[in-house]
Symmetry: D2
Subunit: 354 residues, 4 copies
Amino acid sequence: MISIGVIGCGYWGPNLVRNFSVLKGCRVKTLCDTDPHRLEAVSSLYSQVELTTDYSSLIADTDIDAVVIATPVRFHFEMALQSLLSGKHVFVEKPMVGNVHEGKILLETAAKHNLTLMVGHTFIYSPAVRKMKQIIDSGELGEIQYLSARRLNLGLFQKDINVAWDLAPHDISIILYVLDDSPLSVNCQGKAHVHPNIEDITNMVLNYHNGRIATIQSSWLDPNKVRDMTVVGSKKMLVYNDLEPMEKIKIYDKHVEIPPHYDTFAEFHYSYHYGDMHAPYIKQYEPLKRECRHFLDCIETGDTSESSGIEALKVVQVLEAASKSLKDGGGKIDIEPYYPSEVVSKTAVDSRLG
Amino acid sequence: MISIGVIGCGYWGPNLVRNFSVLKGCRVKTLCDTDPHRLEAVSSLYSQVELTTDYSSLIADTDIDAVVIATPVRFHFEMALQSLLSGKHVFVEKPMVGNVHEGKILLETAAKHNLTLMVGHTFIYSPAVRKMKQIIDSGELGEIQYLSARRLNLGLFQKDINVAWDLAPHDISIILYVLDDSPLSVNCQGKAHVHPNIEDITNMVLNYHNGRIATIQSSWLDPNKVRDMTVVGSKKMLVYNDLEPMEKIKIYDKHVEIPPHYDTFAEFHYSYHYGDMHAPYIKQYEPLKRECRHFLDCIETGDTSESSGIEALKVVQVLEAASKSLKDGGGKIDIEPYYPSEVVSKTAVDSRLG
Amino acid sequence: MISIGVIGCGYWGPNLVRNFSVLKGCRVKTLCDTDPHRLEAVSSLYSQVELTTDYSSLIADTDIDAVVIATPVRFHFEMALQSLLSGKHVFVEKPMVGNVHEGKILLETAAKHNLTLMVGHTFIYSPAVRKMKQIIDSGELGEIQYLSARRLNLGLFQKDINVAWDLAPHDISIILYVLDDSPLSVNCQGKAHVHPNIEDITNMVLNYHNGRIATIQSSWLDPNKVRDMTVVGSKKMLVYNDLEPMEKIKIYDKHVEIPPHYDTFAEFHYSYHYGDMHAPYIKQYEPLKRECRHFLDCIETGDTSESSGIEALKVVQVLEAASKSLKDGGGKIDIEPYYPSEVVSKTAVDSRLG
Amino acid sequence: MISIGVIGCGYWGPNLVRNFSVLKGCRVKTLCDTDPHRLEAVSSLYSQVELTTDYSSLIADTDIDAVVIATPVRFHFEMALQSLLSGKHVFVEKPMVGNVHEGKILLETAAKHNLTLMVGHTFIYSPAVRKMKQIIDSGELGEIQYLSARRLNLGLFQKDINVAWDLAPHDISIILYVLDDSPLSVNCQGKAHVHPNIEDITNMVLNYHNGRIATIQSSWLDPNKVRDMTVVGSKKMLVYNDLEPMEKIKIYDKHVEIPPHYDTFAEFHYSYHYGDMHAPYIKQYEPLKRECRHFLDCIETGDTSESSGIEALKVVQVLEAASKSLKDGGGKIDIEPYYPSEVVSKTAVDSRLG
């Protein structure tokens, strides 16, 4: 029976509590939030759960095996690191941390203590994204040439991170997952309209080998909610619209054919082949439930999670590069590959803990 | 009675012939195309029209008062310049020419001979775009902070120009028209997937005073046809979807409000106000018909067209800057303001004509 | 503190348990279901709830003040009647009962014992339907001439009731609520495709004074899920689409104007005025939560519920008339108005109870 | 070279003129309309066409081989009959005539004189409807159990016919074509809101062998334009939405499966199988052009048209039965099968001609 403590009962925390409360093989022992009203509200459904406003005491609780962190990003590193150093497995919401350096420290610490470190990139556990990867891996689309993602809505505005750090982690984690390839560099442009220095609109470009690119638009300033992704392959195209109730994925059997030479028609345009559209059936389930189940399984088996610290670090690397590019006016920022073997000096850890 | 000669009976030309054929105060005297089959096909409806495959003879015809040019871009300058030098008024399809230098020569030549030079930026004559400008000018949206346009579809691929030169002129002309402001610089990134060196996907950013930006996405590689524009104002937002049969323009009474200081809620997010959505009634008519009528009126009155050579030159300036930025890997390219007073040496004209 | 017992933990029951569990002033004491696995599954979240597979013992429990019934319709009457006779307030899911006679008995019994009898017509507690009624009552649409509702999807097939009894209660209760008028008669046609004698497609017409009609289409055999209602007024039209995430209600300022006599154009058609479209902002909340709160309030205050037994009986009257019309091949079946004063002989009750 | 005279240059006539003007093997000799302004407007594009406001003179013209009639329905019979009696082939717009009796007279007359009589049921020449028939005939959907059509919009109101006669002919002709089966009887209910005695909303039911039904909703009083058809088969379902720009036809691999007996789950509902959705590619072309071409071919070959008088008569039979049912309050009206062999007394013809 894995005993769990949850830190953060704001917007997302309650969903984690709900799922861990019904999963077999674990129990939610303690809830923590700085706001007593939130604690009361959430706990009303879970009469036997202990409550605290002091996260350190929760982390210090020797009866707790795993800590689930659903707080603003700026608290992630401190709470996750303390939990790991206290021998707790850690599930932390995305993005894992606010910079690559902190991410590496968490990775190394988890590795050193043989603890599970998993990050809440929920979308890669969703049936639609699984189906999309399956289709791409099958080669049905041919070679993937281009990928374009949009995540737009009005608000919710964060005060301490920009829209890229707030919304893009979803798209970055999905793209890393389905392409199974690491970008070499990142460009990012954006603009802050509402709050100075906090971009509410960003356009990101991930640059891959052979000039393949993936673009990500993120916005807090769009009247319409948009959650879509277009994948252009050499044979077919795929559109993933997460807001579609039934047909979330549509495959278009359309592609461009370069006409034979000397075809005078080609003087004016390429011919292109139009074909059928196909929306595969996707069985629905709650991604978060599968994600929580996966966390418990990894703790028991010691397996590496599909959204482990290493995968999560790649997301942070892209976000950090994007931030640099934003300051740089959109210039290309390289991503240096990370080798887990790389050692983080213990002093680095101690220094952060003072 | 204005006598008109039309050069180019391909994809768009026939629409111009159809409109000029029914408008009062003019007649279509001659059609020209290099392809005799196209000529025959188009003329079947217009039994009294003369046909030729030699555009020079059409331009030389002293009975013709105005020349309408609907050919691939690379022929625009030569044909328009010859027509102006032969004393003909000129209506040329967009983009006016392939570079700023040629555009200036056409402007100066038209001015010198007191001839009407008009470019087919049809959208600024459409009821939806007129309504959009009217709403923006009324101040209903507040100060315009951000504008985002998309024009996506599969093909038609051009062989001699990239997707930015093919599709973006529509959006650039609309943005210049509704904002009534000139961008200071342009960034553009893109990628050529199908044909080397001809980008089929481009993302353009127009940079204005005070950091205001407008973004334009153009693609020949999207399975879905998209023609939309989002305008974010300080008070309201507007979405223009040209593919909507009825409600092409929707105004969203939603905006972000910065909460008072010391509001603890603000620690987590800005509040935002949701309001009504409103789709104003837009009376339909054919924009091209209005545009053709406007050309005839400008010839008669000598007035400057709403899509005159000067307006069209601004579009070419943006496109030329975008091309430089593309080669430059997305860097910012400044646009030097153009003063019509500026003189183009006669030699420049002669040199081109050899 | 109102003590509640819930009978039926199948498809809908758990939602009622969830809401009553968090509402102030009540507690869920006992859950009942014939399937022990369902009981276990639902109770896992509510550790202090008692469980039973015998609904009679639940009804007999003197510590329970109110019984909530979410079982198949065929059990409603028996369970509700026993509960009332045991002095319990009753909340029963829709449709209240399978025929008018049973409905009257429940009404009279509740009245006789001064108990609250409320039926789960959830939609009349939804923000969109409230807004629709408010708009209609304001007169903005003019006189309501016609109303058309559709509720279509694939399955879920009931075994003991047809699609009209399964889906139409939603639409009937909404129409009765927003029009605040009782139909004089009903026509209904339909067809059973999948299971003999259980119609899976029905088209119902409610006939009102002055020939005003409302139509209701119900289907278990449509590939697309549809939940909409069109209201035609003498001034404006309203469309309520419950599947729209944001703009559930759209008001169209379009109406037909009869042209003056002697207008030759009128020989061919009426002119019609096109105007703006307007989607009012609707604040979201969970209708079921409000409904459950309302039930508790009615118990405390003794007020009559907005979905009281009397309102629910009108729905059953329409359904019963529709069933007769179905057997009758679509003929018009009158609805005899019901006067609550009407007495139901005690023997009727006893006879049913044996 | 077939010489054609066109009567009626109102809403639809010009489209017929445009097509016949470019088709090989024919020429438009004369246009007729009672309104000189319409004549002038339409003829402006066709300089060599003769004009007249007297349709009798057009019919009497011995140089004319075929008469095309695009007038209000009430003139169809008179003009078509005179044309046939003058030895002209006839193309008349839908509905062919206002009652079955007149329809039979036209049929017999055309047959007697070996003339082509064709009616403008354009939709059966459209690529989407052809594809739909092909899919149904292939058996992919299994046995067709149910068909439901909707054709709704605001106006255009006719003054001399109700909405069923105005809009339903499209749907009736499509249904007759794709099912290739004749209904045994018709039910129709409706209501006149705007103009007394002219229904602006009708719901029609076509009853076939084995209780199979097809429903047709027609409305002039809907704020949204709707043109769709749902076909429910024993294996799959098909939705045809004529307003979809690309995917007009969608096939849903969903159907209901009756679970094995003794499956306790079946106590509550039938299981249903969800599968993929598939939108076949449909090559676009102008249906009217194909229809006009087909008329010319039938004249030359003497073949019977796919929308011959006999097919058109079936449509009129349904409409006439629907009108009777409307007056009858929705009762079932039988359709008596028609045998072309049936003789129409010459006196009947003469009497009408006086």
